[in-house]
Amino acid sequence: MFRSAKSILVAGLSLSLTLGTAGAIASEKYGFGKTATAEEIQGWDIDIRPDGMGLPGGEGSVADGEALYEQLCATCHGLFGEGEGRWPVLAGGEDTLTEERPVKTVGSYWPYASTLYDYIRRAMPFTAPRSLSDEQTYQLSAYVLYLNEIVDEDFVANKETLAAVEMPNQEGFFVDPRPDVSNTRCMENCADPSKLQIVGTLQGITPVGHFVEGADAPAASHHEQEQKERQMHGEESAEQGHQAALSDSAVAGRDTYDNACQACHNSGIAGSPKFGDKSAWKDRIGQGMQVLVDHAINGYSGDTGIMPPKGGRSDLSDKQVEQAVAYMVESSQ
């Protein structure tokens, strides 16, 4: 077997030698890959530049942006761009860049309005990136600029008007000048020992449970921290909740939950009931599955927060949403 394979190899080699193609290839191109078509490039070429390069046709008004923002963005970024929890603050913060706690927002910090369109288009909404139309992206860009009082309420964003917007902090950036400090390799008596100030560490905010026994400290992952907080409130953990037998519908909903719903419901963004949090779910479950499923599919504005239609995941079928609701409900009762 080895022998026959070898003879084939030898035959192949001598063939190529007689054709004169052996030897090192220096500057020639490899020719790998296929030439990209204009259509292929257009589909992926989503980036926008400050000079407006990349901005598509169409337009979007502040007014239309307001409705869409409240539906898709406010749960994390707050109704006025003030930010919920640790989600990014979008508006305000003017004149805070020199303060001890600067608030870096679109209005106070971002140098170009084009970045807004680019970022919304490539990454937002968080749970459903690349789901917005060009017009919707213009609408949201316009509204966030309006929240920052950079444009008036009658502003309509399009290729020309957005590229023309001048941001307050446009001149606030300069190119990296490092190395900007110059230490020397001193070996002896490099500092006056009597003038050394020693500052200790803030205690109790570092996860140290893995090496300090019995430490009263945060957990070392978001998931474990969730569990810990739940236990502190005397509730069963989500894991324990899973133990209960789930219906077929709930089992089928688990993937949908993991891929979509958990982005908010795992941590309880902006008042959403946390997965496994029995007290948060109790009254909701009391309304009946039909109401919960209706709210999940069609959207709902409650006292504590907003449930966008299908959580912003319009790609999900009604059936998938229904199954995910069953999974969450059965795991939280």
């Binding site: 980036d47 020199t98 400090v181 070996m187 500092a191 020693i198 570092t206 140290v208 978001h222």
Partner: protein, 442 residues
């Protein structure tokens, strides 16, 4: 080998600091620093080393251990091997309150537990903006277009046909240590310095791919973009792209882990990790930078005057002592090997010095193992500890002559609001108990 440390002024210094700090209120954070030195003993007493299960007598000499009296698992019991069950504590960790939740977050490598300079693939720190994309390599494409002669789409198979290179390089998040600009607040090495990993990366020089497409003379910048839900994008100067940037598909001998961008990522050696776009799907050549979110809103360094530095790409020379450290206190007096890691985004590490008295006097350490360009470099100094308090520091110097700065020098130049690029000399306070605390010296 062993270099004896002149501890002459150290004892005097510590005694003096202890006197001065007596009686201060714990309530005030700025004063706590001094008080912390005194209060530290109690905490250290509860410190235990790692997750090792206490040995039982029946497996110790003169007894024959239980594992020597039976058979173990056979071959392919674990088709893909995993660490010993006794190493369960060697894992990535995060600080949950840093981020809203885990999908857009960061975790840290347990550098306190690692040896040598290579980070095992399962322990490389993670940074996601939209979670880990799960990509079918057969459906993954890299598109190069813009100011090029021939826009190209590569399959993974195409990319792996190019002659490959393998290089050992570190990746560091520019926010490594960034939680401590205003003051020390992390009680463990994993959280002060763990946004740092070093692997052998295999792939194709980006220069080769750009030559294949033919960059037009006006092409000065490159936009790199990921295929994940965040479609993360950064503008890269063409000089870097043509210099040492790589498009890699493997790390430490196997295909990239999904967490590291499987099946393809960019690697900009020595530059802030954020520029090494994971799940790389697109490279566009342009004549100007794009000023996207990750190079304006984030990854810009705010100075005291309210202006901000942009395109702060290089990870400057840095170092930290990994033994001892808060997670690895000194267990008993006697000889000890002080060990640590040094690295520079500008080249090779040339020298590391160690101070035992908070930077008053310094002793040269030895570099051990491989000393490579833009790679982690391990340093070592064998000395003796007999219970004296230490203010332990390391100071790295790279081949350009740049000397790692003090925290005071950095703050003087930049204030305390820049978040990124805090590469200052780090201090561990070693107490009489052998316990180690994170402190800052100014």
């Amino acid at each position: 080998m062993s270099k004896q440390i002149r501890s002459l002024s150290t004892r005097e210094l510590m005694a003096q600091l202890a006197r001065e700090s007596d009686g201060l209120s714990i309530a005030d954070r700025r004063d706590f620093l001094k008080k912390g030195m005194l209060a530290a003993g109690a905490m250290t007493a509860t410190t235990f080393a790692g997750g090792a299960v206490a040995a039982t007598g029946k497996n110790l000499p003169p007894m024959e251990p239980s594992w020597g009296r039976k058979l173990g698992a056979g071959v392919v019991d674990k088709p893909y091997g995993v660490p010993s069950e006794y190493e369960k504590e060697v894992v990535r960790r995060t600080v949950p309150w840093l981020t809203a939740e885990s999908i857009a977050s960061i975790s840290m490598t347990p550098i306190q537990d690692l040896q040598g300079i290579i980070t095992p693939n399962g322990l490389v720190f993670e940074r996601y903006h939209a979670g880990v994309a799960q990509i079918n390599p057969q459906e993954h494409r890299l598109m190069i277009h813009g100011l090029v002669e021939r826009p190209i789409i590569f399959t993974m198979e195409d990319l792996m046909r190019f002659p490959s290179v393998s290089e050992i390089k570190f990746i560091e998040c520019p926010a490594n240590g960034g939680m401590e600009w205003k003051g020390a607040q992390m009680e463990a090495l994993q959280f002060t310095h763990g946004m740092l990993s070093c692997c052998e990366w295999t792939g194709v020089p980006l220069r080769v791919l750009l030559e294949e497409a033919g960059v037009k003379p006006e092409g000065k910048w490159l936009l790199a973009e990921g295929a994940d839900g965040s479609h993360m994008s950064r503008s890269i100067p063409i000089e870097k792209a043509l210099d040492d940037a790589l498009v890699v598909y493997a790390q430490n001998g196997e295909m990239l882990r999904p967490e590291q961008g499987y099946p393809l990522r960019l690697l900009n050696p020595g530059w802030e990790g954020n520029t090494s776009i994971k799940w790389l799907r697109r490279l566009e050549v342009g004549d100007k930078p794009w000023y996207h979110r990750e190079e304006t809103s984030k990854y810009t360094d705010l100075m005291e005057d309210g202006r901000a530095r942009k395109f702060t790409f290089v990870q400057e020379t840095n170092s930290v002592i990994t033994n001892p450290c808060p997670e690895k206190p000194i267990v008993k007096p006697g000889l000890i090997e002080i060990e640590g890691l040094a690295w520079s985004g500008r080249g090779k590490i040339k020298q590391v010095d160690v101070s035992f008295d908070g930077g008053v006097n310094w002793v040269p350490a030895n570099l051990k193992g491989l000393v490579l360009d833009k790679a982690l470099t391990r340093f070592s100094l064998v000395t003796k500890w007999d219970g004296q308090p230490w203010l332990l520091q390391s100071r790295a110097i790279d081949e350009t002559g740049y000397v790692q700065p003090t925290l005071g020098q950095l703050r003087e130049a930049r204030g305390t609001n820049s978040i990124y690029h805090k590469n200052s000399i780090h201090t561990w306070k070693v107490e009489a108990t052998g316990g180690v605390k994170n402190v800052q010296i100014s």
